[in-house]
């Protein structure tokens, strides 16, 4: 089965700094990826997605990078704010299994004021 994992379970950054959250995946057939943010007691919140025909996609203060060669994606958050403190999950999907998303175990981001 698919395996989506994260390198760092906890990341602490200073307010105003940039954050980088990494995610590795094992299924080379995965072609659609989503980053979710989950605050305590809430459901995951969609942040940004990327398809495999792209290497980079930018949103508001966030950028997702996809490296298909090494099966790695990252989420970059610019000027991290206290409100960014949460657990971040990457989720992957492969076309042959189109309705099933596989989530990693998450990275907790702590933003220090």
């Amino acid at each position: 089965g698919e395996s989506v994992g994260l390198h760092l379970p906890t990341l602490s950054v200073q307010e105003g700094d940039n954050s980088i959250i990494n995610c590795a995946y094992s299924n080379s057939a995965s072609d659609y990826f989503i980053w979710y943010k989950q605050e305590s007691g809430k459901g995951p919140q969609f942040i940004i997605d990327i398809r495999s025909n792209m290497d980079k996609r930018q949103g508001q203060r966030v950028t997702v990078l996809l490296n298909k060669t090494v099966k790695h994606l990252s989420l970059q958050i610019a000027a991290t704010q206290p409100g960014d403190s949460a657990v971040y999950f990457c989720a992957e999907n492969a076309g042959y299994n189109f309705n099933k998303f596989y989530f990693g175990s998450g990275t907790k981001l702590n933003v220090k004021p």
Binding site: V4, K42, D49, F98, K100, G106
Partner: protein, 113 residues
Amino acid sequence: GAGVSQSPRYKVAKRGQDVALRCDPISGHVSLFWYQQALGQGPEFLTYFQNEAQLDKSGLPSDRFFAERPEGSVSTLKIQRTQQEDSAVYLCASSLEVRLGAFFGQGTRLTVV
């Protein structure tokens, strides 16, 4: 409402009791998903509906778990004869299309005692 709504938010069940968890997806969303999230883990896929059709139930852990979406809108996840290992947060998500980022509800936290 504007988002995915789940009820109840919290449910405590005695072992052996049956429970029913409700999900009201975003109006017009064709795709509906149920996920199970254990403490400190990422969500794990349970089942998927396209309108009223349950197209994938491969993630349901046992035949005690049953989901339905009879009119293609509200969905119910039923767990019969609950066991302690069923304790988790049950998340519902919906999307306009199956391979678009899904919007999650806040989840139902089920505790089996």
